[in-house]
Symmetry: D2
Subunit: 125 residues, 4 copies
Amino acid sequence: MTQRIDTGTIEIRVRYAETDAMGALHHSRFWVYFEMGRTELLRARGFDYAQCEREGVFFVVAKCAARYLAPARYDDVLELTTTITRMGMARIDHAYELRRKDPSAQGGDREGRMIAIPEAIRGEE
Amino acid sequence: MTQRIDTGTIEIRVRYAETDAMGALHHSRFWVYFEMGRTELLRARGFDYAQCEREGVFFVVAKCAARYLAPARYDDVLELTTTITRMGMARIDHAYELRRKDPSAQGGDREGRMIAIPEAIRGEE
Amino acid sequence: MTQRIDTGTIEIRVRYAETDAMGALHHSRFWVYFEMGRTELLRARGFDYAQCEREGVFFVVAKCAARYLAPARYDDVLELTTTITRMGMARIDHAYELRRKDPSAQGGDREGRMIAIPEAIRGEE
Amino acid sequence: MTQRIDTGTIEIRVRYAETDAMGALHHSRFWVYFEMGRTELLRARGFDYAQCEREGVFFVVAKCAARYLAPARYDDVLELTTTITRMGMARIDHAYELRRKDPSAQGGDREGRMIAIPEAIRGEE
């Protein structure tokens, strides 16, 4: 089971410049979004990554894996949930879930269509 | 008349990730291409911009203007002509012409369809 | 004088992936932001550009010009004011002002440092 | 062992707009490069992906995984080797190796520093 040390959710609206000729959010942009998720998770806990860098502390992405389940489209509002799954001395592991926010969703059924999940949890489906 | 202190042409193939949902090269990417044109014009004259930065000399884009005449598509090969039109002590002005390279063009009629030109020379058409 | 047919302001936080090796927001991203400003101005007036496209109506950027006054940095919160300055049958002109939002600004002095303005209004300063 | 159905190598020069405030190629751009590798591998075998799309055949990226070993910098010339490791009816698997091209390398020792490899072959190191 994936550990959930800390988790947070942000909303991101797909920009026109992020789509491609197929009409979908280009898969390279997922990594831009995931980075935003990490930044905002840090901020919610009182850390400022911009300040970290000014003090000479940098986070480097060492590996990444994702599975894309459905295309996101221009102007879709997505919900990105970022979870810290492991914290070590020199390494933090994150998992991400990206869903289309369903404007009509209510109550217990508020989740939209899943767009992307980490490849690492593929075996758990 | 626009002065031509120095000029150079490079070829750029439009990447899939640079297109948008309209199927065309997104207009923000023109500025990425124009920057490549400046870099290669410098390199052709024996300057290495990466080295300039390591020595603490940075070029900052202070203003820009362009006119878009036709869309470029995924996988199009474009010809970008970069021209230095003015050189001052602390400022260099460039003009750019971006054309679709016509694979069937020959001899004196080798120019493809114009994609973008600088707004500044609009009045000269 | 620039006409102000309609105007709206949005906030945009600079993403890490939008910076460049100089540590600043890359100038090509301004056009991504300006496009967001147009989209949100439309939305605020009840128009949905994504829907427009599904109905076969596309807006094409035909020309653009900007003047960059100060760099924006990673994680800066910027305020983008988008103004429709002219509306014709087949053409809409926009002007943009991009400022760094000053978190300490108060009362009548709430405006932060200007980042970019349209080149066209340069002469009016 | 990874199967090598087909393989090809292209050179890519890191653009300024692709770097980030850390001075390195942003990790989201790797996926833009990998897509270029796929396109050129297809072209080398006589297929034109742009034409495929015009005929209604689209390739969708369903999952991806990579491991980043060293940063690439602005103006570095990289060598990307793209390999088809599996071909099925509705799915093609690719592996990528991205190296910095060493301008001083000669003879049998011509390979530069490795930048990225697929996560999937991690276990084989």
